[in-house]
Amino acid sequence: MFEGLNANPSTGQSIYWSGDENWDAQVISESNDSTASTLQIQMPLQDGILNGDKVFPVGATEGLRLHLTLDAVSRSCNYQWGDKGVEQPNGVLLETALAVGDGKKVAIDSTLNIVIQQGSEKNKIEVNADSTSLNTNPFSVGDCVYVSDADGNNEERLGIISSYFSSTPGVADGNFTMAVCRDAAIQANPPVPADGLALAHAQGSFVFVKNSERVNGRPSSVNIPPTLNLAAAVPISFSIENLEYLVGSVSPPAAYTAAMNTQMMSGKGLAMDFKTYSTYRVNLTAKIGLTNQLIPATAQRAYSCLSVPLSNAAQIDMAADSLGGVIDHCQNYQYVHGNKLIPDRPVPLERYNNTPPHIDALHLIELEKALLNCGFPTRNLQRMPQHFLIGRAFSKYGQVAELFGEDLSLRVEYSGEATVEKIFNHYICHLRRMTISNGRTTAF
């Protein structure tokens, strides 16, 4: 509610966009299309110093500088319906066939109706009639849609969506119908077939948008009305304004401050431990078989290791979840520290590859221990296959373990069906000590 979490994919039920977008009940066009909402976000920074349980002595360190680097829009943003309707393989199915010559334009704003098959499957669009109100439309006004055969052949640009509505206005459960404005000149007088679509497209053809056009916007065209050109030209982005850091401050008694200053100037110094994370990224070159990756962790007071297998391709793809771990036919895993196997046998992961995915209990136990040791009480184990990661707790009950001096590596075995190139993010949770002595600050 306060940090912008929006789990519901239903169009029209997003905190980021206003407007109910219920095309089953009305025509949605530029005038009543969703507009971006301004959200007021207040979120903690999950950091050992800024979110720890100790007061930080900014007076001792002569202040604190916070440097945030924002991530690329393709990593931080997702389409509400994921990859549905994005690129040809994920297209939705055409209900009403299109013939050669269809869509001739008598005026600059003439449109062609494209009717999509109705249903709850991923390649169809509907508004669920019961009280769930699930609107599965992945398109919006300003999208440029294409059509092709199922095998990708005979691709043809249809046009820019100017509105969408139900095929049976006033009657529930109509087909999703979009009125597209073709990027073509007004028809000749008399009209010729070349003024309309060049190819025929049968029922069941794939209708889709191109990701790059959505992300970057389309250049304007003289054949498209100016307002629609504007809608099509908008690239995807986000803006953060009025950024403020709300800080509470504590003013200790003068005697306390004096004692602290004295200690800082002494040889013994002022020491403060805080929990932090060191990230090691490993590009996995092999996709199948037993993979082995070295984690160059040198922490002397480590809590846990959290290893997230990310898809390389998804890192720059807004249609995919860039931050969620992928399973990709993994079979088992095992950490190795020096010559010690952790656990003593590989932990099975095969069940995650079932349809639908099932959890592997031993993996879940290890992961829960690892997260708890980092200070994250585990509240939700549902949807593990969609938030997949591997974890290991090296200690318990507030104690620490020493990783320094021996190699730490992770072995993950993938079956021959694995296809995704992966990059592993390994987060080592450990204690770091800041010491202020003789007026200088060091951290290790």
């Binding site: 509610m1 979490l5 007021q40 009280s131 509240r379």
Partner: protein, 465 residues
Amino acid sequence: MNINQKEHAEVFPINPPSGAYSFRGGFPIVQFQIANQNKLLDPSSLRLNGTFKMIAPTLPPTRAPLNNTSAAPVADSNTGININNRVGIASTIHQMTISTLSNQTLETVRSYGRYLASVVPVTHSQSDFDMTNQVQNPASASRSFNGAHALNNEVSFCIPLRSGLLSGQNFIPLGTSGVNGLQLQLELAADSAVISGYETYDKADAATQMLFNPPNNGAFYELADLTLSYNLYVPDEEGQNQMAMPSTGSLSYNSISQLYSVINSSDQTKVLNLGTSNTLSVFHNFIPTNQINNYAFDSFSTGQLQNSGGTQIAPANATLNRVTFIRGGLKFPLEYDVEVQDAGEADRPQTMNTINFINSIKPYKFYNHSLMSTYTNQGIIGTIGFNYAKTPRNKNTLPDPKAEIFGVGISFDPLSKVGVDFRRTSYGVRLVSQLQDSNSPNSIFTYVRARNTLTYSPAGIAVTS
């Protein structure tokens, strides 16, 4: 002092009526006494037990079960009789006074129901309302229809009394070296404040109010078989002797006090004399004044400020633009204004205000269970089920939509929990909103949580606030 054993105690009221306790029947006061004894009272174990029944406005009244089963309006005097389901049976308590047997007032909580109307939804989730809270408070429910349905029959209850003193962890010495016994007085709320109807919703979340008909005869409620149960810890012989001898000691506890005011313009600063030396937090909730003690409205609703002309199912919300907290004329503890106009006009969470409000009730870093969501406050379904295919939960399984949990609040001392002195300095809150005209008086219920110290000595008992 060593504890020897635990005793399970239960007392009856000292003023039993001939029938049941009810506001309609002229028996709105319930008094309990806990005797002076050399034992320690565990305040968190204290419970009010009894049975609760609502009587339909038929003439003559009958004790037949109600008929809160319809999702569509019926011309029926047996349907549409309900109480606020977030507060539950505790909404029958208008005022709670805890005093020693020598009539020294320790704590008075006025408008107790409206206090719980904010505190309980902020600290309990939908499942808590439908499960955890419901076992002991059968009127508790996340959806008003479900709460009404549960109250068709007479029900038994066992509810805690959530005053500051009784929510504390410190045991209360009941002996001569202590409070010398306790007296608890409960003043029942008016029937028209407690009872209203329930709502049902269509697919577009448009609400229909189910209210008993005719309202003029007035439905009413009764409480019967009331007892107060609690645990006593019995010290060893040495401890009991100690408790029997007059001596000096003190007991710290949090107390809740309430103030009432009215706001009637778009830019108004309420200045209040809290009179407390260790003020921990303050929060305010709002309701149009004409909706209090009115069968047609839920007197415990916690919506936004409203302009005139709104109804129970279609409130005329007046967006809150800005809040400023003031102490002695200076901004305190926030050195800035809480600006929430843009988010409010976009009908999105007014985060900055809401987080401060939550923090005034429960520290935000421990905030984990709450009924508050984008669905209860903005009507946007944010949650999905646990199917691997992400589908939102069916609306009918969610709490009442747009039954907002709204308030303004601030915590003064979240770190050391000592509190701030407002004995000789006034507290102020400036509310800038979109209240449009002077015909829209909104009542502000202000609740102050402060640290009190009870000092007992051979000379008597003193309470320092």
